[in-house]
């Protein structure tokens, strides 16, 4: 066969090879390169991708921050971050390969001239390494800095290649600010070029919810109001605000966790099966759920703030005693709510959600509690130890799935007890679990937006948050109302007791 004829044919040698799609050559520009996120998450993730040879063959990294430093100092700082935070063993050869194309620009985008300095460097790297004009901008900066950077980047778009913009949370502060930010970004970037990160979606166990629901024939027929009594979603943290008083005072639990992670977990639990696994199909189904969430009345939402208490045996201060927090702060560190998804599948099925800081332990779970057997033919005492069937998805820690079922206690008579069938991720799959940021950065480099949040999803999430927060303006709860190291305020328990239910036993 002549080479010309072969060129027109599909490559037969690729057939059957386990080839992963590799991203195109590109430059990744990280704004906020001296920040915590870059040290703890982004750089370790890039190192992990380099170790596994998943980065493009020609790839450059440019760190941008206000801190004065040069390329060498930046590389040294990033090397220490990788050595400290990476999940893999540190390999000098891998690091060298990554670091040789790593650069740093000390600038403040509010200053005249900063953007030209960056542009010159990016263009130089582009032409030296033949990156095809492909650029990924990662905005790991405080929300206030985003508009200026977006405007400047928009003005200086590369004439060739593709451009992608990764935006960290929080995406706005309320519906109006999120809409304004969306409008601003869309003036310069197409929706397909925007990657709004909610790192929960990069977690393996969150994606496993899709596998569990849509790869198993046994769950889907009973995944509805006829068989499910209610759903409980818990995002509990045992840590406090870790010195981020300024940030937390402006967000609180509802903007920090509820608006993004929690509503995304709910959407994945409640969504209809997508027709395929493309970004648009999955996001179309998620946004339908978000639109169907009924705005909860004031009695269906509980907020709390932790007082002093003990976590893992250690005495911890109250929220109002944390450094930087005003002593009369009314910021909530806990939210619980009863939500309804008003659609054919879920009408009248409550979704109880709760999230908070300084709770008894770190745990993110989704519990699907099924209705009781209609008529157990056993004596009442025999089934005293029997609880309803619960399918429990452990998002973190102890990643896995367990199903609570009733089983006969061995011996004479008929005693029934609840036992657990467990699937522990680390037990069946012995390969290390990738960090969420590895998956998300790689997906952004590949241009796959499935695990990122679309503009309409963000706006629906804010719409719900705004309506809850609006109701809060009318009352002033007595804070603190729960001790650190407990499972939240008593009113959260009452929220379920009123319905004859209780939070899942821990």
């Amino acid at each position: 066969m002549s080479t010309t004829a072969a060129e027109q044919q599909r490559n037969p040698l690729e057939e059957g090879l386990m080839l992963r799609r590799k991203p195109d050559p590109c430059v990744l520009v990280i704004f906020g390169a001296s920040g915590d996120l870059t040290h703890k998450k982004l750089m370790p993730a890039l190192y992990a991708l380099m170790l596994r040879r998943l980065l493009p063959p020609r790839f450059a990294i440019v760190g941008v921050a206000r801190t004065e430093a040069d390329d060498d100092a930046f590389r040294k700082d990033m090397k220490e971050a990788v050595q400290r935070y990476a999940r893999d063993e540190f390999r000098e050869d891998v690091w060298e390969e990554l670091a040789q194309n790593m650069h740093y620009v000390a600038t403040d985008f509010a200053d005249e001239g900063g953007e030209q300095k960056l542009e010159r460097l990016v263009e130089q790297l582009d032409s030296e390494q033949e990156l095809g004009g492909n650029r990924v901008y990662y905005l790991a900066v405080p929300p206030a800095a985003v508009p200026t950077i977006v405007k400047e980047l928009g003005k200086r778009r590369s004439a060739s290649g593709w451009t992608r913009l990764i935006v960290e949370k929080p995406f706005g502060h309320d519906l109006d600010s999120a809409r304004a930010l969306n409008q601003l970004i869309r003036r310069h970037f197409d929706e397909r070029e925007i990657f709004r990160i909610d790192h929960y979606l990069g977690k393996e166990t969150v994606q496993n919810m899709l596998a569990l629901r849509f790869a198993n024939g046994i769950f889907e027929p009973i995944w509805n109001r006829q068989f499910v009594d209610h759903v409980q979603i818990t995002v509990a943290e045992s840590i406090g605000i870790e010195g981020r008083a300024e940030y937390y005072e402006s967000t609180g639990a509802i903007r920090d966790i509820f608006q993004n992670h929690l509503l995304q977990l709910l959407a994945l639990t409640a969504m209809e099966p997508p027709i395929d696994f493309t970004a648009e199909s999955v996001r179309n189904e998620k946004v339908k759920v978000l639109r169907a969430i009924h705005t909860p009345g004031p009695k269906s939402v509980v907020r709390g703030q932790y007082g002093r208490g003990y976590v893992e045996g250690e005495e911890v201060p109250a929220y109002r005693e944390e450094k930087g927090v005003p002593p009369d702060s009314m910021t909530e560190t806990y939210v619980a709510a009863k939500l309804y998804v008003d659609n054919w599948r879920w009408a009248d099925t409550p979704f109880y959600v709760r999230m908070g800081k300084r709770l008894a332990r770190r745990e993110t779970t989704i519990a699907i509690q099924f209705k009781r057997a209609p008529h157990p033919p056993f004596e009442e005492t025999a089934a005293e130890g029997l609880r309803p069937n619960v399918l429990l998805v452990h998002v973190q820690p102890d990643e896995g799935v367990s199903l609570a079922i009733g089983a006969k206690v061995p011996g004479q008579g008929m005693q029934i007890r609840t036992v657990h069938m467990d699937f522990l991720y680390g037990g069946a799959f012995r390969t290390g679990m990738p960090e969420a940021y590895e998956r998300l950065i790689l997906d952004a480099l590949l241009g796959d937006g499935t695990l990122f949040t679309r503009a309409d999803e963000v706006e629906e999430q804010w719409l719900l948050v705004d309506s809850i927060v609006a109701a809060w303006q009318r009352d002033r709860p007595y804070f603190p109302n729960y001790n650190a190291g407990t499972w939240g305020p008593p009113s959260a328990d009452e929220l379920l007791h009123r319905d004859g239910r209780s939070w899942r036993r821990h």
Binding site: T3, A6, L13, E14, E15, L19, R53, A428, R430
Partner: protein, 262 residues
């Protein structure tokens, strides 16, 4: 402390004639951590005067990362003495874990047409061989091809060429007109790469020149060395582990073997 977790994702049978025993144990030791399985090691000793089964049972435990628990799976080592070595299916059938896939790793060249091979081929979902362990290549590939309709087959020698195949694929379309491929590697790797190129390119006129070495060290195309593939070659455990991740027939491998077998 939480209890240990007993887990298996498959039943893994290894047919290991005595000369292969140490190598097999070493590969299994590295593999079991990634694929917790019930492992049944069958050591045939057909020449033994007495017909009996000697059994040894052990438990392998590995910590689960970030969780205070161990994952444990069992290793059953059976020495099949005398006539027992001819009827392995009846011995392993009761030991298989229901509903989980069964993989058979056959060490050395299988005794084509023998009862013990036929029995294990019929109960396995995948037969894993390493044609590097065989003599008189390419002759045995013809026998192997006869098994393709009965079970899925993997060849570790083939898996070891995967990095090179991925690299050669990047040379398309220039590679389409290649006339001679010189392989610096084992006879099995040379034959399989040659068969692969012929079957994928749909050409019988590609010539093989084999420079035998203990591992795949290089490939020349019409006298020009192909670039070296990136990354490190995988360990024996990693290669076996890769094979155990597959559950369907490898049609590309089958076509390569058929091209070699003629």
């Amino acid at each position: 402390m939480p209890p240990n977790l007993r887990t298996s994702v498959m039943t893994h049978i290894a047919w290991v004639p005595k000369p292969w025993l140490d190598q097999a144990r070493a590969a299994l030791a590295g593999m079991a951590e990634r694929h917790p399985s019930r492992t049944i090691l069958l050591v045939p000793d057909p020449g033994a005067t007495e017909s009996r089964i000697d059994a040894q049972l052990s438990l392998e435990c590995y910590p689960v990362p970030d969780v205070d628990r161990n994952v444990c799976s069992e290793v059953i080592e059976l020495t099949l003495c005398g006539s027992r070595a001819q009827v392995p299916a009846s011995i392993v059938e009761p030991l298989l874990i229901s509903d989980l896939p069964v993989f058979v790793r056959w060490r050395g060249e299988p005794p084509w047409g023998a009862q013990e091979l036929d029995q294990l081929v019929d109960l396995t979902d995948r037969l894993v061989v390493d044609s590097t362990e065989w003599e008189n290549l390419p002759h045995p590939y013809g026998h192997l091809a006869e098994l393709f309709e009965r079970t899925a087959v993997s060849d570790i020698a083939w898996e070891r060429t995967s990095r090179w195949r991925a690299l050669l694929a990047t040379l398309w379309p220039g590679i389409a007109g290649v006339r001679t491929v010189r392989v610096h590697g084992t006879a099995a790797q040379g034959q399989l790469l040659h068969g692969w190129l012929r079957s994928r390119l749909g050409r019988d006129d590609v010539r093989l020149e084999l420079v035998e070495t203990v591992r795949l060290e290089g490939i020349d195309l019409d006298g020009e060395p192909a670039p070296f593939p990136p990354g490190d070659p995988p360990s024996p455990s990693e290669v076996l582990s890769e094979e155990l991740d597959r559950f369907t027939r490898d049609r590309i491998y089958e076509a390569a073997v058929r091209a070699v077998a003629g």
